[in-house]
Subunit: 205 residues, 2 copies
């Protein structure tokens, strides 16, 4: 018996290179959940094989800019000349159906969501140590040192934003990290502020 | 890897008759936990087979009253001429060893603990419906109607204190309720206010 039927908005974030998408995939591979992944909207051209409404919602720039003005994004950013954003209406539609909606986004985007959706659950994924992350940033990069250095500096700034989140989850092992996130989602459903309304209704019956 | 080594104080409470001790026992029967049960102190005479320091800490009235004055209880109450209380020092000793300490107490006691231990996790166990609880209060009682009526009125008052707790857990099924509590304990360990200190230390290394 559930005292909270509404879905939760789960925001997964963390410093660049921490393995957010790997953790998110491990989370979705767990059994017995009702998670849906929030599909982003973008103005970039679809790549071969990408499907509108599956990989992204593909729109043109004027449409995207109109939506920004109308406040229709939970967060958005411009990256190499293209817009990327999380459509608010799509997220709210899924939440009202009782699904848990998972956003896997950059730190800057997560902080934008905080302002619009204070009820969301903010999870900061961290590496088991700073050096572990630096190593990852170097390994996966075949680019010049200056770019790597820039990424490290970005990660260093992002590291310091952990206190803006509700939970800190260590990605020491992808499967453990996914388990911890699943525990958090289940526990959040039992939180008094999410259950008291239905509980009081139950008492009245 | 744990970012919080300190044990948590878990306060299990709920209206009389909801099955707190059954849920607590199911919780302790789960695997992979580090829970310890807080042993109460009392002035009542040990019953046959009861062991001091196992079932209760048995003390005399002057000792108990001295401890009350010294603020050495997380909560205490008088019941049919005897004192019952939770010794603060014993709880803190277990917490500092990294154990999760579970208190299973009446609603009035839980609210006393709240003032002294704001970091504790307060869980309110509720029946799947009011009538379910009334039925339980009647079935287990061979006493006169007036006493049953008194208990129902007490439960009715206790029902309304759910908002003082962090979580509301439905005891629709003892095993499910215990699972929910275990999820809560695990999730609480990842809370930012409990992990940020060690996280910042990790960053400095």
């Amino acid at each position: 018996m559930k005292l909270n039927d509404k879905g939760l908005l789960i925001v997964l974030s963390g410093p660049s290179g921490v393995g957010k998408s790997t953790v998110r995939k491990a989370l979705f591979n767990k059994k017995g959940h009702d998670l849906v992944y929030s599909i982003s909207m973008t103005t970039r051209t679809p790549r071969a094989g990408e499907v509108d409404g599956v990989d992204y919602y593909f729109v043109d720039k004027p449409t995207f800019e109109k939506r920004i003005k109308e406040g229709k994004f939970l967060e958005w950013a411009e990256f190499v000349g293209n817009y990327y954003g999380t459509p608010k209406d799509k997220v709210e539609e899924q939440l009202s159906k009782g699904h848990e909606v998972v956003l896997e986004i950059e730190v800057a985007g997560a902080l934008q969501v905080r302002n619009q959706m204070p009820d969301a659950v903010f999870i900061f994924i961290v590496p088991p140590g700073k050096q572990a992350l630096y190593a990852r940033l170097k390994i996966r990069d075949t680019e010049p040192d200056s770019i790597i250095q820039e990424r490290i500096e970005k990660a260093d700034r992002e590291f310091l934003l952990a206190h803006k989140y509700d939970y800190i989850v260590v990605n020491d092992d992808v499967n453990n990290a996914a388990d911890r996130i699943m525990n958090i989602i289940r526990a959040e459903h039992a939180k008094t502020e999410r259950t008291i309304h239905q509980y009081m209704k139950m008492l009245g019956e």
